[in-house]
């Protein structure tokens, strides 16, 4: 996991009743990429982060934040 980076992608996706595959399709990446982002294994590019925010209909800061800064 990237040190200090916290993400709420799994929770936000679940709130919208989206599967990993559906979200992956919406932003044009593989389901594995969504899975690794959710698990903190992979830190996405700014472009993908913005696409995720657009697909979930929320600001990117709602998905990603620095730990300790809320």
């Amino acid at each position: 996991m990237a040190e200090g980076l916290y993400n709420r992608l799994r929770a936000l996706r679940a709130e919208r009743d989206l599967t990993q595959a559906a979200l992956a399709e919406a932003v044009g990446v593989s389901r594995k990429t969504i899975n690794t982002v959710e698990n903190g294994v992979f830190v996405p590019s700014t472009t993908l982060a913005l696409k995720l925010a657009r697909a979930l209909g929320c600001p990117v800061e709602d998905i990603f934040s620095l730990e300790g800064i809320e």
Partner: protein, 138 residues
């Protein structure tokens, strides 16, 4: 449903690619040690260069050149590209390690230039391919 199918097919293709690369890594490593004479200017030497070039292209592009653009985009998304970068870094250091071993072994074992080059390049390519396969498989 069609989108889910595309994702499922992309996952299967990624696994197949990982298996192919792992197999290719073994082939490259074994082939490097099958040589018995100086083959730098022979058909075997040319074959070696072609083998290295072919696997290098697969490693650099992610392969799947015959697949649709949409499928290729999923197979080579940013996670896959990042994994390739990490794998190639491993390959680079494996080449350096192999070169060091060849250098240290040279006074004690008869190694000609072509043989040394084969060992160094095979180590770098095989390790990069294997590392990429492992990253893509998990």
């Amino acid at each position: 449903m069609m989108q889910a199918n595309l994702q499922a097919r992309a996952e299967r293709a990624a696994r197949a690619r990982a298996a192919l690369l792992a197999t290719g890594a073994v082939i490259v490593a074994v082939t490097a040690f099958l040589r018995t004479t100086d083959t730098s200017a022979t058909a075997e030497g040319v074959g070696w260069i072609l083998l290295m070039a072919a696997w290098s292209i697969v490693l650099a592009t992610g392969g799947g050149l015959a697949l649709s653009g949409q499928m290729r985009a999923l197979l080579n998304d940013e996670l896959s590209i990042a994994n390739r970068g990490r794998a190639i870094t491993w390959g680079f250091f494996a080449s350096l390690a192999a070169a060091t071993v060849v250098l240290l072994a040279a006074p004690h074992v008869a190694i000609d230039l072509a043989g040394g080059v084969r060992i160094v390049t095979a180590a770098g390519l095989a390790v990069a391919m294997l590392r990429y396969a492992l990253l893509e498989w998990r």
